[in-house]
Subunit: 315 residues, 2 copies
């Protein structure tokens, strides 16, 4: 799956993942109106609005980007109906040829991590039958519980030819509170990064990149540079571009000289583009076209500010 | 809700939570047979088997214990149908007067943590209506992302009069890999413990205990002793008793001299008691009676080994 991700990045020239984080305030009025007319102002109505909103965006961007990243929390907050929309969204994205990175940030002790891995990446046995419950291609995972909480995820990922992105240095303002603490004179996130390399050592694709990736926030470019060195062949999922303050020019060091090694996420900057002044001309009705325009601009932004730069700066 | 938990602990004399982690291999054959006869060997069949299994156990233990702790992963692995069983289980437990601790170990950046908190502890707005999606009373939370990932959980917990148990020192063998790392000569988990105290400072119940609790594994009694000192009025959820190797005699220091301050979890030791030699006499058909017997024995074990001891040992 990391090979497929790389092939799709090359094919689209877009090391970009669109975060499908459908908050109610992003969903255009007419979509909510239709969904509520059919199902009432209920959780079912909310699930339907989320699904219609996602579907329109996917239809307008699927040919431009390699991957999407639905954020589980934005669906889980609407209970079972929200998760139904999550599941439908993931299945539809795969139908459209997109790689699905489930941003679930799960993590637990051994047998429990295994159950999460089965649910999201693998297949579950019921009697004599097997089912693939949520069908993501990658998921994000939290490392706080250590190796025996991570290894079941790695095992299932390997079995299913799928992958992980393990939280190393997150994009949020207080990520340093624990992650930056010095352990033997080095920040904790560097130790986590070394473990990510170790965990992924037996699960490497044909381009030399591992199936076990890392999450490093765009908002910490210096740390990104250092982490790129520690994890030279670990693919990095980079959240925090755009709305969270990460600039394209900060992102050059997340990439290797081969132009690979990272995938930049943007969520509300794409899916709620129509709410920005810059794309106001599209209006609420044409929100999905605004999303397409925002993707095209992001690709350009990254091309000019990163790839013209990375050639010069990497040494 | 922490007050209610304390009242129920006093009333039952059982500082015990039963972990509802329904793995397929625990579910008796006749329950699976009936569920599959009705719904086939499908995810729906699995969900039904889980629900019938849980319901029977709940019916046999609800009067003995204050709380249950369904482990989300064990449901999520069966996809939407599994989560439907999770939701039904939580609702039924509340109907029976049990406090529900959702073992979900969620944790993310600000707005995303808020969405998880809304889904599990709070209410979500759809149009002009509000819904409580999963309706747990407490949930477990992962602290790796720091304060801005935790505060939205605290805010919703406060608003809804509910609570959290934040992972401090987990029960698994490799929990020390990051959690024990020395930061300024102290293990990281002590820093997390101090933050738990800080996060919970404004959300304290009438017995002096906070609504923001901690998770500390039974398998690390010495650390538990130290953490009890750092977090004197933080309620501690203690997993790892029984199957994971934690002994009752190790648990005395998790409690305060008032006999409160901790709640001990047992999962498979209770729900799969009928598979142990000790309770074999019940047979598979009477699995729920075996669970009841195991709860009664656990209460006795804790009473004799902890409470006779804690009076002597705490100073």
């Amino acid at each position: 799956m990391i090979d497929l991700l790389i092939e799709k990045i090359k094919q689209t020239s877009a090391p970009i993942v669109v975060g499908l984080d459908p908050m109610m305030k992003f969903i255009p009025g007419h979509i909510k109106k239709n969904a509520f007319a059919e199902f009432g102002e209920t959780l079912t109505g909310a699930g339907e609005a989320i699904w219609q909103y996602n579907k329109a965006i996917i239809d307008h961007i699927y040919d431009l980007v390699p991957a999407v990243k639905p954020q589980a929390a934005m669906y889980e907050q609407f209970g079972l109906e929200g998760l139904k929309a999550f599941s439908k969204t993931a299945a539809y994205c795969k139908e459209k040829g997109l790689i699905v990175i489930g941003d679930v940030k799960r993590g637990d002790i051994g047998s429990t991590s295994e159950a999460y891995a089965i649910g999201h990446l693998g297949k579950v046995k019921v009697g004599n039958n097997y089912f693939y419950p949520f069908q993501e291609d990658f998921i994000t995972v939290n490392p706080y519980l250590g190796s025996d909480g991570i290894k079941p995820f790695v095992a299932i990922a390997k079995e299913e030819n799928k992958g992980l992105f393990i939280l190393v240095k997150t994009s949020n303002p207080s990520s340093g509170e624990f992650q930056d603490k010095l352990v033997e004179e080095r920040p904790l996130y560097e130790l986590v990064a070394e473990k990510v390399v170790e965990w992924g050592i037996d699960h490497v694709g044909q381009y030399g990149y591992g199936y076990i990736g890392a999450v490093v926030g765009a908002t910490y470019p210096e740390q990104g540079k250092r982490l790129r060195e520690i994890m030279p062949k670990v693919f990095i999922l980079v959240p925090g571009y755009g709305a969270q303050g990460g600039k394209a020019s900060d992102l050059a060091h997340f990439f290797n000289p081969d132009g690979l090694g990272a995938i930049i996420n943007s969520s509300r900057g794409i899916i709620a583009a129509y709410q920005e002044e810059k794309y106001a001309e599209f209006g609420e009705e044409r929100f999905a076209e605004a999303s397409r325009a925002a993707v095209i601009e992001m690709i350009e932004d990254i091309k000019t500010k990163i790839f013209s730069k990375s050639v010069k700066d990497t040494d």
